[in-house]
Symmetry: C2
Subunit: 387 residues, 2 copies
């Protein structure tokens, strides 16, 4: 039945695809093949939870000029038909004899010259969402055309957000902000952590999330040891630090930030760790500028934590954000990606409070010409207390 208007104007999609095509020209790509939910959503606005089914591959082919071509399972024809695309080719998937391969090969053959190059994202943080054997079939069938790495084109374009995209991410952050303010309503000493996780998700839906693609968190005495495990039924207890983190989704755009709470008053070690994280984040907010690299920002935060006497936690200290929970770059010592105006990023420093006990602090920002603009409401320096 859906009569949803496309989420963005055709002008916005044209802007996106023109930038991809400009990069393709620089990278000498005569076409670009996209297969993942995020890449396809980016260029078409095709938004559905149906990706949860791994049964069917979906293809978008971006030619050197002109609009993208969709080669998709027929079950998606109605929804893709609402997009700005005018060339939508479908087959009945899954088809064990030919699951879109011939259709895709035909589209590539029509679009890319015989000695041309087809870009496919194949670098860090990418994957190909189609069967490997079918990808090999496509590669053979389109010879002598080459398949080459299209990662740079996709990443350099997608990482700069338009104002309309920034507004979407801000709206999702505002949903999470409202929910983090409500956490004391449903989290307190004695409440099992798995029930807190359920109530947190319920509150995100109540406050306007379309769905909740990611919830993480942890609770432990004087800090937590692991932030990716599912919640257990263990009740919260006085002295616990509770951390909740979410990637809620509204109109296909994610937030990704966490908040920490102390069950009863925090220990002095916990508050010192929190102070160090707060100050490292303040420094990042005050000094980050376009032209720095991801590694520069990581250096700023680790140095600040060290100066505050804190033990720097492992892992990255933030990343890109947008139409997936995490996007490139990564704030690590090794990532030399330049930070540019229009990037939406998370600042996520972590410290080790004591052996195996951590605290992680996270904010969402957009990088402007003169520095970061917060998309999340700044966390308080003093840990909020739960009863």
């Amino acid at each position: 039945m859906s009569d949803a208007a496309p989420l963005f104007s055709t002008q916005e999609y044209l802007w996106r695809v023109t930038r991809l095509q400009d990069h393709m020209k620089t990278e000498q790509l005569d076409g670009l093949l996209l297969t993942t939910p995020a890449d396809i959503f980016y260029v078409t606005g095709f938004l559905t939870r149906f990706w949860e089914s791994p049964a069917r591959p979906w293809f978008i082919l971006i030619p050197a000029t002109g609009r993208p071509i969709a080669v998709i399972p027929s079950i998606g024809a109605a929804l893709m038909g609402q997009s700005w695309l005018d060339d939508i080719r479908t087959w009945d998937a899954p088809d064990p004899t030919d699951d879109g391969v011939s259709l895709l090969v035909d589209a590539i053959a029509e679009t890319i010259p015989m000695k041309g190059s087809l870009g496919v994202p194949m670098g860090l943080e990418t994957h190909l969402r189609m069967p490997l054997a079918d990808f090999a079939r496509v590669g053979n069938a389109i010879k002598p055309r080459n398949i080459v790495d299209g990662t740079t084109t996709v990443q350099r374009v997608r990482e700069i957000k338009s104002e309309t995209q920034i507004a979407k991410i801000r709206a999702t952050c505002e949903i999470a902000d409202r929910v983090f303010a409500r956490v004391p309503e449903f989290a307190a000493s004695g409440k099992p952590l798995d029930q807190v996780f359920r109530d947190f998700q319920i509150a995100l839906l109540q406050e306007g999330a379309d769905w909740v693609s990611y919830v993480a968190g942890s609770a432990g005495q004087g800090g937590y040891g692991d932030v990716i495990s599912p919640a257990t039924a263990q009740p919260l207890a006085k002295g616990d630090v509770l951390m909740l983190d979410t990637g809620a989704v509204k109109d296909g755009y994610f937030c990704d930030f966490d908040r920490n709470y102390s069950v009863g008053p925090p220990s002095s070690a916990v508050q010192r760790a929190q102070d160090a994280l707060f100050m490292a984040t303040e420094l990042a907010l005050n000094t980050l500028r376009p032209g720095m690299t991801a590694a520069d920002l990581y250096g700023i935060m680790t140095k600040a934590l060290g100066a505050a006497g804190a033990t720097v936690g492992g892992g990255r200290f933030g990343h890109g954000l947008g139409i997936t929970l995490t996007e490139w770059p990564s704030f690590t010592a090794k990532d030399t990606t330049p930070l540019r105006e229009g990037m939406v990023l998370t600042l996520e420093p972590g410290v080790e409070v004591s052996a195996g006990k951590f605290l992680v602090h996270e904010e969402n920002i957009v990088l402007r010409a003169n520095g970061p603009e917060l998309l999340s409401t700044r966390a308080p320096q003093t840990l909020p207390e739960l009863g």
Copy 2:
């Protein structure tokens, strides 16, 4: 902090891996490389929503004999450390210079003889969850070892569920059953569909889902046109058929079934369509036996719909179910996969009520020696009415 017990006994995981290794022997595989959330969960019990971040690859290598080896980002070490695995190798990911490639190559070199074959799922309904360029690097580095298709091994083993797995799927179905009974509490004429979707997800969490990975649905006068679009704010109206479908998750196991509701009394055309769907499903429930193929079952249902004078809807008429929303096989005319005892399946016939207006009916079953056992509570033949 998590101190969750592994979801299943070591005996269960040994049963799974031994069956994989038996198939590997038949298929002449000296090792099997797994990269997807479901395949890794299947052999290790590693359950986390952290897969939502596409940043990092994760690897499980199954040798010809003995326990699997985990080669994973260090952020997963604590959680994987709770599994039955004893060989867990980690690196700080994402690493732009070497994102687990060297570690994985070493593990393969230790495990697989020089002229051996490494299986990787590359067939229908699979994909490789790691960067393609890194996969090529691994392939080159492990030469002269071969990389070959491991799809059959994974699919023939995973599709037969143990009783403990069946109990998990049944528990998730029971959550959805309770929520479908509550739909009249939150869906009625005048209620915007997007709010119905939110309340449906809230109810699933309230009834015990850990998270809600999939919600779909639609509403339309005398049937619906599209079942994969996000909900719009359009209010339900008298004469609409509302369909809600969910893949809720509990302990990592999915349900996947829908229910239809009529807003006010259904038209005779809608009730006739519903009758045809109900009877086709009854026939499948009464006649399906191990030894039939997926195509046989599709034939039974399409024939029953035709005999009832209904117009057969497009798309498949059901599929496997378990640790992803949809698993192989597919009930289509082309899928000749044998149906075997212990398979968990959805029966999902669809009809076209009038031009572009559909009705889809779905149940979840486990196939026993003497036929299907329902895991979902059988839908009523008469469409429930909403106010």
